[in-house]
Symmetry: C2
Subunit: 207 residues, 2 copies
DNA sequence: ATAATATTCCATCAAAAGATGGAATGTTTT
DNA sequence: AAAACATTCCATCTTTTGATGGAATATTAT
């Protein structure tokens, strides 16, 4: 059985895909309640009933968007793991910061959607919760913060979360933070990467 | 001229204050668009017109809530600065983590509102932006990351922001993160504080 | 070409949401 | 006590919003 999400991905120019992309950007900007189906339809240049035809109700469209973003991030994590396999903790962090920052700066709506879906009280994503729990644990082990899957302490997981959070915030808060730092986009990206290295690496590489 | 917000603060039991508090919690949980005036009124146990009578339109109520939270956080920062004045960078961080974490865990809606107002595209808070910019710069100087007010580099400001972000995220994301770490509230608070110390202190205290 | 299927839009509905006027009630001032 | 003012709620209005039925159009299969 092929899901609408897979269909949209298979044909990037299709109406399904166009709707998904508009929805992704808008939900990322304004959150679930801040976006109306009419806004999305207008952005795509179609009627709302066409939107409902392809994606069902608003909730379903939103969940598809969140699933889309989560899958993408999952792929990124796998890509990173491939690159850093067997490397030192310092290199792991350097590469992870570089790759994740680049991805999130290219897809700011992804970062926002993650924040919205994590931090709001409206989180029906119990599937995502367990998926994320698994990722975090795996990363903790890969980083050598825990011996094996059966014995990952809350402390180890919390440290992984702290790393993850740092990256997310700077990309989601770009608008505000850039005005505070008073730099252009290119400079901002560099400053953020440098800051992340400054903050994160010493914690994990000290003797 | 006395503002409605000051009036509400002067009399904590008043209708103005009760509405403000309900609105604060609800807006913190669901964001501006996720809350209806009827929700707030129902939570207080009053009619919507009473709400409008005291606070005007929804936008105005929301802005009062944000201003309320910002003022409170500003007070906390001043309180911290008093405690750590003249102390070492390590102690500064330890105290800041302790006090801010305690405050935000006691007032999770504050943390959420900050995130909502920082990260959403709907930020008409240009006043807050400049205020925050000033705080960040002051902290950077107090932390010895910059020589004087005229010469605070983006790097220095970014480091202050990184510290601030770390604390915010763990309090806003408590629901999700606690389920990942699988700990109770008390344990969670301790793990978070420990993790923040683990991540933040080495970066600023290494030779 | 024709039938079957898929897609799109127009018109419309019902519910939700922001907002207000004005009557009723309570409080303060004179 | 009476007048002036403040507070509260009920009824109601308008706009927005999510959603759908059905006709029109395009696409694909036979």
């Amino acid at each position: 059985m092929i899901t609408p999400l897979e269909k949209a991905r298979q044909n990037p120019g299709s109406m399904k895909a166009r709707i998904l992309n508009s929805a992704r950007r808008l939900f990322g900007d304004y959150g679930f309640h801040g976006v109306t189906t009419r806004m999305v339809a207008k952005d795509v240049g179609i009627d709302i009933s066409t939107l409902h035809y392809h994606w069902g109700d608003k909730q379903n469209l939103y969940e598809s968007v969140v699933a889309d973003v989560n899958d993408e991030i999952c792929e990124k994590l796998i890509e990173i793991e491939k690159k850093v396999h067997g490397k030192s903790l310092r290199v792991r962090l350097e590469v992870a910061i570089e790759v994740m920052a680049d991805y999130l700066f290219d897809n700011p709506e992804a970062s926002n959607l993650i924040l919205f879906s994590y931090f709001g009280k409206t989180r029906p994503d119990s599937i995502m919760d367990s998926k994320m729990s698994e990722y975090v644990t795996n990363i903790a082990i890969a980083m050598g913060l825990a011996p094996d899957k059966m014995d990952v302490s809350p402390q180890a997981n919390a440290r992984v979360l702290a790393v993850w959070n740092s990256v997310i915030n700077f990309t989601s808060g770009e608008n505000l933070f850039r005005s505070i730092l008073d730099v252009d986009r290119k400079q901002y990206i560099e400053v953020v990467k440098e800051t992340l290295r400054f903050i994160l690496i010493p914690a994990f590489t000290k003797e």
